[in-house]
Symmetry: C2
DNA sequence: GTATGTAGTACCCATTTGGATACTGTAGGG
DNA sequence: CCCTACAGTATCCAAATGGGTACTACATAC
């Protein structure tokens, strides 16, 4: 732990770790989204968990939370600049996961990726 | 969770998640290593945790464990083919972490902040 | 008045994760 | 004999993580 070299890996992981964070970030790559829209995309998440993950992501500066003073309440979440800088990483993760975990049985397909 | 699209992200994350896995993988990128060598590189890890993480990594097929029937015991860990395919991802993670977390105060190029 | 939808919060619980400490068995050095 | 090193295992414990259910406050629809 003396060298900062491994810390970079750990540090990055610590921000996108959590059962939903990676997926939240991934969905936010499609554009800004409201709380419940996100919840529906995620499927099995509870409000409590979604709130929690969203707050952590926000306090880590990866997403921006915008509250509109309307009724019914409207809150939108979007990637921050820092969050957008993570896009290639998330994409790399997804590409690797798709190829090596989801269908690890099948060769990565020579014509459809 | 219907679409496999987000699952790729989750799936990848689930394999490299854990306090030490990312770092273990990162160190193994330098070459095969013995148990205690790894432990020293990691610094604060306990044998119990290291063993645990190593076993999980092994059962996920990311690393290969080789036991030499010698005394004192010698066990070496190395990245598997699948593990090596993760290298670019780990590198992306590290690069991002270095740039955006470790010295997030300083802009990445302009000599000072 | 009741149900729906919005974006949460509060409370309480189970599982998982991480960790400290001690122990194994073999060999070499002093 | 005692200490070190190796690569773990065993036991016990604390904290973090994840999750369920119920509840808020306001407006619309019925």
């Amino acid at each position: 732990m003396e060298d900062p070299k491994e810390c970079g890996v750990e540090a990055a992981l610590s921000l996108i770790d959590g059962k939903w964070k990676g997926v939240i970030l991934y969905h936010l790559m499609d554009g800004r989204m409201r709380f419940n829209a996100l919840a529906r995309r995620l499927g099995a998440v509870t409000q409590r968990m979604l709130t929690k993950q969203l707050r952590e992501l926000e306090s880590d500066g990866l997403i921006v939370r915008t509250v509109y003073a309307e009724v019914p309440p409207r809150v939108e979440y979007a990637l921050s600049t820092k969050g957008r800088s993570l896009e290639p990483v998330i994409c790399a993760l997804k590409a690797w996961g798709d190829a090596n975990v989801l269908n690890a049985k099948a060769p990565p397909a020579r014509k459809a990726g």
